[in-house]
Subunit: 414 residues, 2 copies
């Protein structure tokens, strides 16, 4: 029998305990050992819970109990999760977490401690919920160079964008609906401003290229500035608007990484990933494109990914799973303004003909987009490819020439 | 350093040697050991090959060389592959294979020998080429009960069907094109008659439910009977026509498994898997639907999956990977005629009005489909759900009532 502790009894934590209970027999068969939850750490009281006896408010009790060989951290947040996880690894306990904030901020440091102590630190559930992605990238694609990873990594924003596209509603209306349905939190900033997606692409980038990428190194834009007009222009252009996290390795060893809304062609393998679903495209030099698709969040998908990691820990007490990356560095991420992009631009002007003359003078030929019911003076176009810096400078000069830019969205090449 | 042998220097075998050579450094980093190809077994001569020194025609030489710890079998076919693989496992060598025919026919037997000798027998490349699917099912979904697996498992037939849909060409024309492009073999039977897809769904079913399913137990229909009219009716019905391999566990412990063309709703997560791509849907009780998508064949996708298995072998000389299933049994597969299905039917009749009266009398209410340019007397409809046996019997009686059935396709519920 293997004793474990679960830290945090929220949505995911209670799901983990339930999955371990419900599938106890088949899990024992797969792990070749019974898995027994000895403690559940939570500061709250759960009177009447069938697991009442297991609850504790004392982390020290878990830490000092040498019977506990695996600790599941599903509290979320950076503190005290980081201190707890670090202490567990330093005390000879393997750790499984679903905490993307923790892995994105402290992954390299924790992996190093795990390696030193010959323990496992696993986090399949931190990206894509129940979609297996960490393991396929680290194992199955071991014989590939990863050329690029791009994904719809946040279900909340994908739900909002899908609704805006289908039902022509505003961002604010749709966010309110998402909150009502429980898909968005009362404070939706981490989702809608792209931070959640940013943490996930950081984890995938760190894993794929072996060097930590910190969220603060990544240019991140959310979807709160997206207007129905932008969604309509995306359709007029022949595509859809999605919030994408993307990373590519450059020839100079640096990486390009960004989180932002993008226009995707309808042919893109991510264009049909709708509603709360996530889709992650991994482009390998040998495998070509492989796409992983499923619900990226939710109690049971996430819990089952956590439990799968626990089973893997049990099976690998002797042979450590190879998951590792080095510390990051300040110059590892290319400035996003140096990336070559093409931009969709929505603007207003008093004089369309003159406006397009000026636009062409400042930033070269553009492809004009139109939509039914456009506001008076509204224009929209897609630029040629250039460095983002050049394009932004060109757009800035337009302000003095009677063209007020209202929104820009990058054109994704996926 | 780990010495390996590669048996078979065809498309996949030469890809394996090339990937091992090209990515030697990163592979050594991941495997924590250099991997060195000591022998390549092939009966043909490869004069001038950079690997000329490694070629041998003697399997005995490989078998008796105790330095060789891993053997890659990429010869294909059942014999002599089975005898060679069995002998390798009995002589203490782990085996990696891409040979679906071998795994589908002899998986349980070979896994048993591997287990007895504490060796690995890995076959990620046997299903889905470069798409990771064996490992995710066996590991990441360890905390799930697999409710159902359904997939587009054969790229050749998917290419043919996609072309038939888009370009309104006949099966025969499109097959000839696929052969010209190298997507279909000169003898295309294994692909177009569904046998290849059948082997793959057998492997997935065996893995997911722990008991061997043999290809001869699976009702298998290919696509050679599909006419452009059927493709058009699929569109009229609101979907697409795909060759699907599907398995579900029933409450009585048996399984329903079938390989056949199906109408899929456009909303289905497999409906947009086009061209030579494969898509595999795994429905877990906790994760919900997870879809894996990518190129299911090809030299480098398949080779990189083989190499990933080799790396895994090297990392797990001590801890065996848990891949196992039991022998099958004759009564394990439900007779497909007892499955509840709804059928699309295309028929000809001299008297449409009378025909639909008779149809309703024999098999109940149906949904009628129409298409532009239908042949004189051509009718098409979709039945209600019933057991396949009842529907087939009903259709048989129609022949005596002036309705000649020309083709039927099952309606997929995916």
């Amino acid at each position: 029998m293997v004793e474990i502790a679960v830290m945090g009894y929220g949505t995911v934590g209670s799901g983990v305990v339930e999955v371990l209970h419900k599938h106890a027999e088949s899990i024992a068969g797969r792990a070749k050992a019974q898995i027994h939850v000895k403690y559940i750490l939570d500061l709250r009281e759960f009177p009447g819970s069938p697991y009442e006896q297991k609850f504790t408010k004392s982390f020290e009790k878990i830490l000092s109990d040498t019977d506990v060989r695996i600790v599941v951290e599903v509290m979320g947040g950076l503190h005290p999760a980081f201190d707890y996880v670090k202490a567990c690894l330093e005390h000879g306990k393997s750790v499984v977490t679903s905490n993307k904030e923790l892995v994105a901020a402290k992954g390299a440091e924790l992996l190093k401690i795990a390696q030193k102590n010959n323990l496992n630190f696993l986090f399949e559930a931190s990206v894509g919920g129940g979609i297996p992605i960490i393991r396929p990238i680290s194992q199955c694609l071991a014989a590939n160079e990863v050329v690029e990873i791009a994904g719809i990594l946040n279900g909340t924003t994908n739900f909002i964008l899908t609704k805006m596209i289908r039902e022509k509603t505003t961002f604010e209306e749709t966010l309110a609906l998402a909150q009502k349905l429980g898909y968005a939190e009362r404070n939706p900033a981490a989702d809608v401003e792209g931070l959640d997606a940013c943490r996930k692409i950081c984890i995938l980038a760190s894993l794929a290229y072996g060097k930590h990428v910190y969220p603060e190194q990544v240019h991140t834009e959310g979807i709160s500035g997206i207007r129905p007009a932008d969604v309509e222009y995306a359709a007029a252009w022949g595509g859809v608007l999605k919030l994408i996290g993307q990373v590519k390795r450059m020839k100079n060893g640096k990486i390009q990484i960004i989180v932002c809304p993008m226009f995707l062609s309808r042919e893109s393998q991510l264009a049909n990933v709708d509603d709360v679903f996530n889709g992650i495209l991994v482009r390998g030099d040998s495998t070509g494109d492989v796409v992983f698709y499923g619900k990226g969040a939710g109690k049971f998908p996430t819990a089952s990914a956590v439990v799968a990691d626990v089973i893997d820990c049990v099976k690998h007490f002797k042979a450590r799973k190879y998951l590792y990356w080095d510390d990051g560095s300040a110059d590892y991420v290319e400035n996003y303004l140096d990336n070559h992009v093409s931009l969709y631009v929505r603007a207003v002007t008093d004089d369309e003909t003159l406006a397009f003359q000026n636009i062409e003078n400042q930033i070269g030929a553009v492809t004009r987009l139109t939509r039914k019911g456009a506001d008076p003076g509204e224009i929209a176009f897609v630029t040629k490819q250039a460095t983002e810096r050049e394009l932004r400078q060109g757009l800035k000069t337009l302000l003095g020439l009677g063209v007020q830019v209202q929104n820009t969205v990058r054109i994704g090449e996926l």
